[in-house]
């Protein structure tokens, strides 16, 4: 009898706890529904727009800045920023809407990753509205950036941030090995290798690290040479001499303990960068907040350009995103005007980009706005270097290379090829294999 009572009491407490748990969670989710749940663009007011974005430390402050700026023109304007937990949530939302042929679940505007947009416009042409007729001076933007959102000669997106690649070095560690920031600027990869070996020997730190599975190095290093992994829409790995050279450099750097390939993205950011394993970081400038997480290294970092094969200063771009209007937008005129007025370089652009930089560290690709005063300021963490100004200048030099729908497929396969080469496969057959795989993926979709 006692046992029965005990079990009844236990069951009762558990179910109460569960109910309470569910109750509170449903409450909190309804509280957050403004943030996460579906939007209904047909119920919005005349001066209201909704937008998906994903980083509350980075692109959401930029959107808030734009909202504030546009309110000067239209005091009743309201921008409904719906926070997604990661960029892939936006991609999945488009996939879902496209697959079910029901675009009514989408917001008016989405922030979308540059490397993905090409493929999504081709796969789901009905999901987008072009912004060709918006009042935007396209020549005032970095042309490399615009090349992503221009698809079949039509402008689809308005640029937000800047993916210009920086090479940040720990000057204190370089000094220990007997070098300065000038010694690593405008050098060849072979010289870089020599310096890296010295740094590893003296300090035990790698001069560079990268996520070994989502390896962005080949793309960035190739772009710095002005070469693409693709030629006329086809992967061009094996017969691409520059690419073969680059892959050889990467392999040599790993073997010499200059480059550390992390197992995945969080290993790359948390272990190698925040975990203080490296003396150098090379990636899109959005990596800066990650570097800045280590407070005690403030003032020890400085940025410069990329090494290249020939020794000229290298410029590249990686990542970044733009704003796109979806086909579910009922007020396309308002949306276009908002984008043109703020991020598109209109009257509110300076205010938008200034606040975006101050509050979120978002750097513009707009040439005029990049000359604003806030860009001239030195950044304490980077030894008072005016890094933003430098990044804008570097961004103007990034060569435009052929883009492809299959950017990430290529990245994945080349990363696998590098692993295989390190395990003993010869370069040509590993790259041939990767090229075959990318062509194989392409073959699937062309069969239709």
């Amino acid at each position: 009898m006692k046992r029965k009572i005990l079990s009844v009491v236990l069951a009762a407490t558990m179910s109460i706890a569960l109910f309470a748990g569910c109750g509170s969670s449903s409450k909190s989710s309804s509280g957050d529904s403004k943030k996460a749940a579906a939007v209904d663009t047909s119920k919005e007011g005349e001066h209201e727009l909704s937008v998906y974005a994903w980083d509350k430390n980075f692109n959401i402050p930029a959107l808030e800045a734009a909202e504030k700026a546009y309110q000067k023109k239209d005091p009743e304007f309201k921008l409904n920023i719906i926070e997604q937990s990661q960029s892939s949530d936006v991609e999945n939302a488009i996939t879902l809407a496209g697959s079910s042929n029901d675009y009514s679940t989408l917001p008016d505007i989405v922030l979308f990753q540059d490397h993905y947009i090409n493929r999504y416009v081709h796969d789901y042409p009905d999901a987008w509205v072009d912004v060709n007729d918006a009042d935007i001076n396209w020549d005032d933007f970095g042309q490399e950036k615009i090349s992503y959102s221009t698809i079949d000669n039509k402008h689809y997106g308005v640029p937000v941030d800047n993916g210009t690649v920086i090479f940040a070095y720990r000057t204190d560690l370089l000094k220990e090995a007997g070098y300065t920031i000038d010694d690593v600027t405008g050098i060849t990869w072979d010289q870089f290798d020599e310096i890296g070996k010295k740094v590893y020997e003296k300090t035990g730190k790698y001069l560079l690290s990268m996520d070994g599975d989502g390896n962005d190095l080949p793309y960035m290093m190739l772009q710095a040479e002005g070469v693409s992994q693709f030629k006329d829409g086809k992967p061009n790995f094996v017969d691409n001499k520059t690419m073969v050279d680059i892959i050889n450099v990467i392999v040599k750097l790993v073997q010499d303990n200059v480059l550390y390939l992390a197992n995945d993205w969080s290993d790359y950011t948390d272990q190698t960068i925040v975990g203080d394993m490296v003396a150098g970081v090379m990636n899109g400038n959005w990596i800066i907040p990650t570097i800045e997480q280590v407070k005690e290294n403030s003032g020890k970092w400085e940025i410069t350009t990329l090494p290249t094969l020939s020794g000229k200063e290298g410029y590249a771009s990686n990542g970044g995103s733009s704003l796109y209007i979806t086909s579910n937008c009922k007020k396309t005129d308002l949306a276009k005007d908002f984008l043109a007025y703020t991020f598109g370089g209109g009257d509110g652009a300076k205010e938008t980009y200034d606040d975006a930089l101050t509050n979120g560290g978002v750097i513009t690709t707009n040439v005029t706005c990049g000359q604003s005063d806030v860009y001239q300021k030195g950044v304490e963490y980077f030894n008072n270097q005016p890094i933003y100004q430098q990044i804008v200048q570097m961004g103007a030099n990034v060569p435009t290379v052929e883009q492809s729908d299959y950017h990430y497929t290529a990245r994945e396969q080349v990363a696998a090829a590098i692993h295989n080469i390190l395990d003993g496969t010869d370069v040509t057959s590993a790259l041939k294999d990767a090229q075959d795989q990318v062509e194989f993926s392409m073959g699937n979709d062309s069969n239709s």
Binding site: S88, E91, N92, T95, G98, S99, N101, H115, Y116, R119, Y120, H122, D123, Y124, P125, D126, A127, G212, D213, L261, A262, N263, D264, D267, Q271, G275, D405, H407, Y408, T409, E412, A415, A416, A417, I418, H419, N420, D423, D433, D436, Q437, F440, S441, G443, N444, D445, N447, S448
Partner: protein, 299 residues
């Protein structure tokens, strides 16, 4: 009124039976069989998910699979896990069950709970725990280093061989206790008198195990085999959470590859993914069938 009275009791009972069956049957059809049929239809189509078209030739997705080196690699990985992990796990489980079935053992309940406890952890959280244990700066490396067994930290999850080994170890840790419970239940059903008789006949522990325990446990062993094969072929969480399939796809399982093709980066290749899922389904069916034939006790 009259009509009703004509109905025999049997018809009435039959009608009642159908009424009771209907909700479950309809639900199974709608929730389970309809999606399967849809998946099969999709597996014959290609193109972007907004604009699926019939494949030409119709079994394009199926024939294409066998030219896909990556799919064949993931299939090889999955079978490698299957061949190494399942036997080790089941042997361990049966030995543990035998040990814990000992009537003279003190704190049996405690030990049983301890062995079973891993099964209570969720797949994702235990994968993450193993991931941090075997990280380059993780506990395992620290222990091995302090013991003087290694001089530099090993990148367990970044090297093919060790990464596969870690997945297998993790799987064994997670599932041994689960299978042990089935064996324990099976052992409870074996009369103690059978063992006593064997003892009187002079059989030692090893002989009793092989000639009494194993044959009498056969149905349980077949069941655990089928379940383990099925589970391993559909392995997903460990591959995703421990290694993300890396390095260079050498630890990726079939299910993980299917997922990546359907919901991975920038691709929504539903046709091809569905086709691969059907291949996994057929593989599971064949292996289960062989197993049942081998384990069939009716001669």
């Amino acid at each position: 009124m009259e009509k009703k009275t004509y109905k025999s009791v049997q018809t009435k009972q039959k009608a009642a039976g159908w009424v009771f069956l209907a909700p479950a049957t309809i639900l199974i059809f709608v929730m389970s069989f309809y999606p399967m049929i849809r998946a099969f239809i999709i597996s014959l189509q290609t193109g972007s998910s907004a604009n699926l078209k019939w494949a030409k030739p119709i079994f394009y997705n199926y024939t294409r699979m066998f030219q896909d080196k990556k799919f064949l690699l993931t299939m090889g990985n999955t079978f490698l896990y299957l061949i190494i992990q399942v036997p080790i796990m089941l042997v361990l489980a049966i030995l543990l069950a035998q040990l814990l079935n000992n009537k003279d053992l003190k704190c049996r309940g405690l030990f049983r709970t301890m062995v079973f406890l891993p099964c209570a952890t969720s797949l994702v959280s235990y994968s993450l725990i193993f991931k941090s244990l075997f990280a380059t700066q993780g506990l395992m490396n620290t222990v091995l280093k302090n013991l003087g067994l290694i001089s530099t930290n090993i990148n367990f999850l970044g090297t093919t061989g060790t990464a596969r080994a870690v997945i297998i170890i993790a799987l064994i840790w997670r599932w041994t206790g689960y299978n042990m419970v089935f064996y324990l239940a099976g052992l409870q059903n074996i009369e103690y008198s059978v063992y006593e008789a064997a003892k009187i006949d002079g059989a030692n522990g090893w002989k009793t195990f092989w000639h009494i325990t194993v044959p009498l446990l056969k149905p349980t062993i077949v069941m655990t085999f089928i379940m383990s094969i099925n589970g391993t072929l559909q392995l997903f969480d460990e591959s995703v959470n421990l290694t993300k399939g890396g390095p260079s796809f050498t630890t990726m399982t079939m299910s993980h590859y299917i997922y990546n093709n359907a919901f991975g980066k920038g691709v929504a290749n539903f046709g091809y993914s569905s086709a691969m899922s059907f291949i996994v389904f057929i593989l599971v069916a064949i292996l289960a069938f062989i197993n049942m034939k081998v384990g069939d006790t009716r001669d």
